[in-house]
């Protein structure tokens, strides 16, 4: 069942991706001010939204673990964080390349970019911390607390381009202010759907790995007991 779901999500995501590439490169017009490079927005922003969605899943799973002490929630949290961190890296890399063309620099230590980098580092720390703690309950509890703590950075990232007294090089909000032309919405929303579908397939693969790991741990205990 899980394997079928992975294939369905993967195939659906890839089909939508091909359709979206067609739209991005052959249908929608070139931006008058930015030229071709603006097309990076169809990867850059969906990657950030997808990452935040997976971090939200991780926080819900972490809270559920702290309440129920069920390791299935911990598995979901670590799987979602790993995929979310990968999408955050995609967001940072594509943003940096866009900045090199538009601003002439690879990186600016402004509020939005610094807080997004912090988000990446916090969740990277989460993933690096886990193998360092060997006792499973302690590992899951510490990870859950860190996942919740790291999530507090997301409102900072969101508000970094909305507060007037914060210095930022990053473009202002365009999605809710009508700054994105209607013709750009379909590839933009499809981009989010593609990443969510492919990301969900990856989370399912990671969940399977986590359940196999738990089985390995119990087999090791059994071997030691014999």
């Amino acid at each position: 069942m899980r394997e079928k779901a992975i294939y369905v999500l993967g195939i659906l995501g890839t089909a939508l991706l091909v359709l979206n590439f067609y739209r991005i490169f052959l249908v929608i017009p070139i931006d008058a001010l930015q030229g071709a490079i603006y097309r990076i927005i169809f990867i850059h922003v969906p990657a950030a939204i997808t990452a935040d969605a997976f971090y939200a899943v991780a926080v819900i799973a972490s809270i559920a673990f702290l309440i129920r002490k069920n390791f299935a929630w911990d598995s979901l949290a670590v799987s979602a964080v790993e995929v979310g961190t990968m999408f955050t890296l995609v967001n940072l890399a594509t943003g940096s390349i866009w900045g090199r063309v538009e601003w002439g620099i690879w990186w600016a230590w402004d509020a939005r970019m610094t807080s997004q980098l912090m988000l990446f580092l916090l969740y990277l720390g989460y993933l690096l911390l886990r193998p360092a703690v060997t006792e499973p309950t302690q590992r899951a509890t510490m990870s859950a607390i860190l996942a919740i703590f790291a999530f507090a950075d997301i409102p900072i990232v969101t508000m970094a381009i909305r507060l007037h007294n914060v210095r930022t090089q990053h473009p202002g909000p365009v999605l809710e202010t009508g700054g994105l032309a209607p013709v750009y919405w379909p590839p933009f929303l499809t981009g989010i759907a593609v990443f969510l579908l492919l990301g969900s397939a990856m989370v399912l693969v990671r969940l399977h790995q986590e359940s196999s790991r738990r089985e390995i741990d119990s087999l090791r205990r059994e071997i030691h007991a014999i």
């Binding site: 930015q34 030229g35 071709a36 490079i37 097309r39 990076i40 990867i43 850059h44 990657a47 995929v83 990968m86 890296l89 995609v90 890399a93 594509t94 390349i97 866009w98 090199r100 063309v101 492919l198 990856m202 693969v205 990671r206 399977h208 790995q209 196999s212 790991r213 089985e215 390995i216 087999l219 090791r220 059994e222 071997i223 014999i226």
Partner: protein, 52 residues
Amino acid sequence: MSPVDITNLHFLFFGYSAAWLIMIGFVFLLVQRSRRIDRELTRLKSMVEDKN
């Protein structure tokens, strides 16, 4: 096409390449890890059977 347009296209190519390389790299790591876990699981299962 002006030199600015060509530079623009080059960086667009770099952007898309970077994004897909990161994702493909991640999938590659997932597959490698799955194989390693499956091998370990099979090994431990056969050890338990042998001991029983």
